[in-house]
Symmetry: C2
Subunit: 436 residues, 2 copies
């Protein structure tokens, strides 16, 4: 493996992305005599699995985001830098940030994924996705504004469209969004409105496949389906959305009038991958060798959502979830650590993915969990879900804050973050109440 | 006073603005047989005195904002509506929202104030003010980005400008911003950066008058001045800012290179006042009679920052602070309540302002307080300040969250909300560390 070109310089490991994968890789190298440059477009590590809770006004952005600098405050071999990597030059072992070249001995690509509209990017304005904090506060803004608009709308059809929420895609994010939105409309806010009955809000979950949560065990899918329907979510399976407009969606041949559409369907790996000029899969992910390195470039690794990796033992694809990224990060961190220390080439082995289980929460006391082959639903699943998530949130302050927020939502049914922020072209409508 | 024009309709009280004044007025009417329409551009009541803590990454937006609907959830005579009032038609007793007329029997104007650049609105991009949550997150973004940019800047002069923060105006907001920013740079974040010494950051507080906190007692001014200097703030008194540019400010004849300028100098009442076509003072505030009504329109009241009111007994101007607005709101709420109940005209009396004291916090254990004629500084003032503010924050959840955040900032020196959100054209600079 490549060592330092110059005897007085430590080997440099450049990590692109401060998500679950990038952070795990850097942490594995904490005792290594390397220089780590961790580059991210943001100054924070984001706990993405809880983004939908920011979007539904339960948590604050800061509850699920930790400054990267703070995470590595004591790990002095990490230099954290904010910036967007535009290009990777594999041949010359350099990446480019705003035209500036940064050389590396090892490169770990962990730039993640964004949502994909399957070639219909024009839908993004009408149907925002949920990958960033800005996405989450935008969805929160639209979700809360819908009720404000309905409250002063006099036309019954228009009011109905204001109160119709369509969620496209029934993976964990889509199910969690749909379940929580229904719960807010039916249980949290009815007493706050004078004119509109927020309980009449419709939440429609559309899925192209034949079941919700298709990455879960089939029994858990069924349990989730039942729980969502019990909450009041309308589920449309085996249906494709063929058009998204500001006033609704075409679902097959049917038009569903809805002013609020949210996108939780497709995922596409970071566009950075394209600059490598190597083979990508259909979702734009980089096809990697069993040791997670790029074919022909043993000093370049790809982990997390940016990689199309398969389990070295089972041959099954590694799913694009937090655990996959974390395990990949730890695996490549270990390889680099050993190679740097031993100063010789070792057998790297193959990456195997250990599935700790799948979790999704759908509302108060409503959740599904596949853990160690056992399926939980309802309250036990909800408790496992809450415990695991609090455990994995990075810093202590957030753990307490999140626990407190969940406690008050659970026991008092309140949601603490009902703020409509950002630009809004909201217009008060002529209303029989206000006009006399 | 005007009663309902129609026997089967309750008298309608329209309140414009859900700040301290508007909320206080509506609460005084909780047992009255009136219909209250409370209109605000936002869906939340904002605890403005703590905005600077959002701007300096100590608190979350939701900690200092409560949904207006939630505040009045149980007060069924309040209809809350989101919208921007564009015009008041005094003669016909109507206000206009997006062209729609809303009639009133009583009108309470409590639309507050915005910052004023004294005719230099072109400075607003380079020197944002602090009146809204969006302002606060924008200042937070710039404040935190400054250190990110300095970390990767190689030119010493450019780095110095990145780390120079100018605060214009030394009222409570200016002093609190300057003190807290210094504390963050010197105590919170130094260990997080590898290249730049954040302790070298300069915070310069510029004030046109001859002392800081001129609304406070002179002794408290002096104490605040001493405490700010001890923290490391550079204070320039009797100096006027004559130009603001993205690369610095002209202060008299001297140019101060600084990439970060924050505006805490001027205040101007809501532009809504201009639509009334009545007499305004220099700051755009409406001159009111001693009962806070508009001359010639006894059913129209103006309270808080939108009013140029004088104390009915001392003849001194009522200061533009939260207590002034709350007391004004309660006073006019009472007048309306009595007139509606008694169905006859009473002697309204004159509004007198009771000054409960002034408080400003400048850093950990650093504060000044004028309470009941007694001056406190240092730790006692800081404790009074923290207690009073937690007491007045509207909802329980926020009280706990704020207390927890302050506790962890106090004891561990952490700040939980160090997030750079929103659009950013941040560029990674060529750096000797990264480039080899």
């Amino acid at each position: 493996m490549t060592k330092q070109s110059n005897q007085d310089q430590k080997p440099r490991v450049v990590i692109v992305g401060g998500g679950f994968g990038g952070v795990a890789a850097a942490k594995k190298l904490r005792r290594s005599n390397v220089e780590i440059i961790l580059i991210d477009r943001r100054n924070y590590h984001l706990f993405q699995p809880l983004l939908y809770q920011v979007a539904t006004a339960a948590l604050n952005p800061s509850d699920i985001a930790s400054p990267i600098r703070q995470i590595f405050r004591k790990q002095k071999n990490v230099i954290s830098a904010m910036g967007e990597v535009e290009k990777v030059d594999l041949a010359n072992r350099r990446i480019y940030v705003k035209g500036q070249a940064i050389s590396y001995d090892y490169l770990v690509l962990a730039a993640g994924a964004t949502h994909s509209y399957f070639g219909n990017d024009q839908w993004s304005d009408a149907a925002p996705g949920l990958k960033t904090l800005e996405d989450a506060t935008e969805i929160r803004r639209r979700f809360l504004l819908a009720f404000e608009a309905a409250e002063i709308e006099i036309d019954p059809d228009a009011r109905r469209a204001r109160l119709t929420f369509v969620v496209v895609g029934a993976g964990p994010t889509g199910c969690e969004l749909a379940g929580t939105m229904t719960e807010v409309a039916r249980h949290t806010i009815p007493a706050d409105f004078r004119k509109v009955d927020t309980k009449t809000a419709r939440v429609i979950l559309i899925q192209s496949g034949d079941r919700v949560l298709r990455t879960f065990h089939e029994e858990s899918s069924k349990a989730a389906h039942r729980q969502l329907e019990k909450l009041g979510v309308e589920i449309l399976l085996s249906q494709c959305v063929t058009e998204v407009r500001p006033d609704g969606v075409m679902c097959g041949d049917t038009f569903i009038p809805a002013n609020n559409v949210f996108w939780a369907a497709g995922v596409r790996a970071s566009p950075l991958s394209e600059s490598l000029e190597i083979e990508l899969d259909r979702s734009g992910r980089i096809k990697v060798d069993p040791d997670l390195s790029v074919p022909g470039y043993p000093n370049v690794f790809v982990i997390g959502d940016q990689a199309a990796a398969v389990d070295g033992q089972t041959g099954k694809p590694v799913p694009g979830v937090a655990q996959g990224a974390m395990q990949g990060g730890a695996f490549v961190g270990n390889i680099i650590r050993h190679e740097v220390e031993a100063d010789s080439q070792l057998d790297r082995g193959v990456f195997t993915y250990f599935d700790k289980g799948n979790l999704a929460t759908l509302g108060r006391n409503k959740a599904v969990a596949d853990v160690a082959g056992i399926k939980f639903t309802g309250i036990p699943a909800w408790i496992i879900w809450a415990g695991v998530h609090i455990l994995f949130i990075v810093n202590f302050r957030s753990k307490v804050s999140v626990a407190f927020s969940w406690g008050s939502t659970y026991f008092f049914g309140t949601r603490g973050v009902r703020l409509i922020t950002g630009k809004s072209d909201f217009a008060l409508k002529r209303s029989p109440t206000l006009d006399r």
